[in-house]
C-alpha cells in the first residue's frame, strides 16, 4: 500500500497542475486549488496528530501541577480533568478573582498560564503555520 503522504502529495499535484488549470469557471477552479491547500494541512495533521496530542496532554499536566503549587483557592485551580476546557475555565476564574487573590498572585499564575498557552500554540502552528512549504 502506498503511504498516505505520497498519495496526498500526488492528489495535491494533480489538483494544482492538471485539474485546476483545466477548469475555466472561477468558482470551481478556486475550489480545486483550495482543496489542494487543505489536503496539505490535513496530511500534516494526520502525520503529527499522535505526537501533538500527547505533548499537549503533558503540557497541561505540568501546568496544573505548577498552578497547584501557587496556593490559589481550590475552587479556581483544581479541575476534575486537566484538559483545554479546564485551562479555559482556569483563565476565566483567574481574571474573575483577580482582586480577591491580589495582583502578585494573579501575575504569577497568569505568567505561568501564558507560558503554557505559548507552548500549546506552538504545537498547533506545527500543523497550521506552514502553508506552502
Amino acid at each position: 500500500m502506498l503511504s498516505a503522504k505520497l498519495l496526498v502529495g500526488e492528489i495535491v499535484s494533480s489538483l494544482r497542475q492538471v485539474i485546476g488549470p483545466a477548469i475555466s469557471e472561477p468558482y470551481p477552479k478556486a475550489q480545486a486549488y483550495m482543496a489542494a491547500t487543505i489536503l496539505e494541512f490535513v496530511a500534516r495533521q494526520i502525520e503529527e496528530r499522535d505526537g501533538s496530542d500527547s505533548k499537549k496532554a503533558a503540557l497541561l499536566e505540568t501546568l496544573f501541577d505548577d498552578i497547584d503549587r501557587l496556593g490559589l483557592p481550590a475552587r479556581i485551580a483544581s479541575p476534575r480533568a486537566r484538559d483545554a476546557a479546564a485551562l479555559s475555565e482556569l483563565i476565566s476564574n483567574l481574571y474573575q478573582v483577580r482582586s480577591e487573590i491580589g495582583e502578585s498572585a494573579f501575575a504569577a499564575a497568569n505568567l505561568r498560564v501564558r507560558q503554557a498557552l505559548r507552548d500549546l500554540l506552538s504545537l498547533d502552528l506545527e500543523i497550521a503555520g506552514k502553508e506552502g512549504e
Binding site: Q31, M34, I38, S92, I127, G129
Partner: protein
C-alpha cells in the same frame, strides 16, 4: 439557484419596480467573486421610458442564509444604513429597494446602485500593483483619508443612524464589540481555545475610553472601496458598521493585517501622511495606544470569523472549501494576538 435563473427573477422584479419601463432587459449580469456573507450580483438594466432608451447599473446583495456572521448580519440594517447615508457627504451607493420575502431569490435581498469604478483585491498581485501605482500619483491616498474623515465627521444622529445602537460614553463601545464577537464564537466553537479565552479576558479588562462617538465602518480598507479616476467613488461592504470609537477604523488602517508586505497602510497610503491628514480633517487626536488595543481586538474578531466560517462548513451549512481552510487560520491569528500581548 443558477445565475441565469437569478437574472430572470431579478428582471421580473425590476419590471414590477419600474412600471413605466418597457422592453426591460439585463446585460453584463455577473455574480461577483468574494463576499463570504452575501451573494452579490451586478448588472445593467436597459429599458425604454417616455420614448428614451435608459441604462442603469444595479447591484443586488442577497442573504444566503448561512453567511459568515450568522445572526449578527442584518441585510435590512445594511439597506437602512446605505439609505441613510445617501444624503450625507459619505460616498456610498444609492439604495433602491429592500425585499424581505425569501420567495423570489431564496432569501432577503436589496437592490442598490452599481457605482462605477473598481475595488481591486489588495491581496492579489494585480491589486498590490494597482494601489502602489495609484499611491505614486498621490490622489488616491488623499481620497482614502478624506472618505474616512467624511465618515467620522458625519453627524450620525442627524442622519438617523442611531437605530444601529449607540454605546454609552466611556468604555462601553469596546465591551459591546467584545460581547458581539464573543456571541459569534459561542455559536461557532467546536473545541475550547484557551488562548482565545485569555485574549477575551485581557480585552475585557483593558477596554479603552472613547474620546468621541462616531459612525464607524468597521472594515475600512482598500478592497472595500470603489475607486474611479484615483478617487474613492463609494465605500462598500456595509456589514460591520457601528456607532463607536473612530480609532477603531484608524486602527484597522494602521494594522499590518491589511497591507501584507506593503510599506503603505492599506497598500495605498504613507503612514505619516495618513496620521497628519486624518487628524487635520477630523480634529481628532490619534491615540496609538488605543489603536494598538483595537488591533488586538481585530485579532479576536478575525478568530471569531474563522471559527464561524469553519463551523459553518463543519455543520454542513456551507460547502465552500474556503471556509474549511480557515480552521487552520485560527492558531495563526491567535499566535499574532499572543505575541501582541507578550507571550
Amino acid at each position: 439557484m443558477s445565475v441565469p435563473s437569478v437574472a430572470e427573477r431579478i428582471t421580473s422584479y425590476l419590471k414590477d419596480r419600474l412600471p413605466a419601463a418597457s422592453e426591460l432587459s439585463l446585460s453584463d449580469f455577473v455574480q461577483t467573486a468574494g463576499g463570504w456573507s452575501h451573494e452579490i450580483y451586478t448588472f445593467y438594466a436597459n429599458w425604454r421610458q417616455d420614448g428614451r432608451q435608459m441604462r442603469q447599473g444595479f447591484c443586488v446583495r442577497k442573504d444566503p442564509g448561512c453567511g459568515l456572521l450568522r445572526n449578527l448580519s442584518s441585510l435590512h440594517e445594511q439597506f437602512r444604513v446605505i439609505k441613510a447615508l445617501e444624503s450625507t457627504p459619505v460616498p456610498t451607493p444609492r439604495a433602491y429597494w429592500y425585499q424581505d420575502d425569501p420567495g423570489l431569490l431564496g432569501g432577503p435581498f436589496f437592490v442598490m446602485e452599481k457605482v462605477e469604478g473598481e475595488a481591486p483585491n489588495p491581496w492579489s498581485k494585480a491589486g498590490k500593483s494597482f494601489y502602489a501605482e495609484a499611491a505614486k500619483r498621490g490622489t488616491l491616498p488623499r481620497s482614502f483619508v478624506e472618505a474616512l474623515a467624511s465618515l467620522h465627521n458625519l453627524d450620525w444622529k442627524a442622519a438617523g443612524l442611531d437605530f444601529i445602537g449607540v454605546p454609552a460614553e466611556g468604555r462601553d463601545f469596546a465591551r459591546r464589540e467584545i460581547a458581539k464577537w464573543e456571541s459569534l464564537i459561542d455559536q461557532s466553537i467546536r473545541k475550547p481555545e484557551p488562548a482565545l479565552t485569555e485574549l477575551l479576558m485581557w480585552l475585557k479588562v483593558n477596554a479603552p475610553e472613547v474620546q468621541r462617538l462616531a459612525f464607524v465602518h468597521g472594515a475600512y480598507r482598500t478592497g472595500n472601496l470603489m475607486i474611479q479616476n484615483d478617487a474613492v467613488s463609494a465605500i462598500i461592504d456595509w456589514e460591520l458598521q457601528v456607532i463607536g470609537d473612530p480609532m477603531y477604523d484608524v486602527a484597522y488602517v494602521l494594522s499590518d493585517l491589511n497591507r501584507e508586505g506593503s510599506p503603505l497602510l492599506s497598500c495605498v497610503v504613507e503612514r505619516e501622511f495618513f496620521l497628519d491628514y486624518y487628524q487635520l480633517l477630523t480634529g481628532l487626536k490619534i491615540d496609538l495606544e488605543v489603536c494598538r488595543y483595537y488591533e488586538i481586538l481585530y485579532m479576536m474578531r478575525s478568530t471569531a470569523f474563522w471559527l464561524s466560517a469553519s463551523g459553518l462548513f463543519a455543520e454542513g451549512k456551507n460547502k465552500d472549501l474556503r471556509l474549511a481552510r480557515t480552521t487552520y487560520s485560527v492558531p495563526v491569528v491567535l499566535d499574532m494576538a499572543a505575541k501582541a500581548l507578550g507571550f
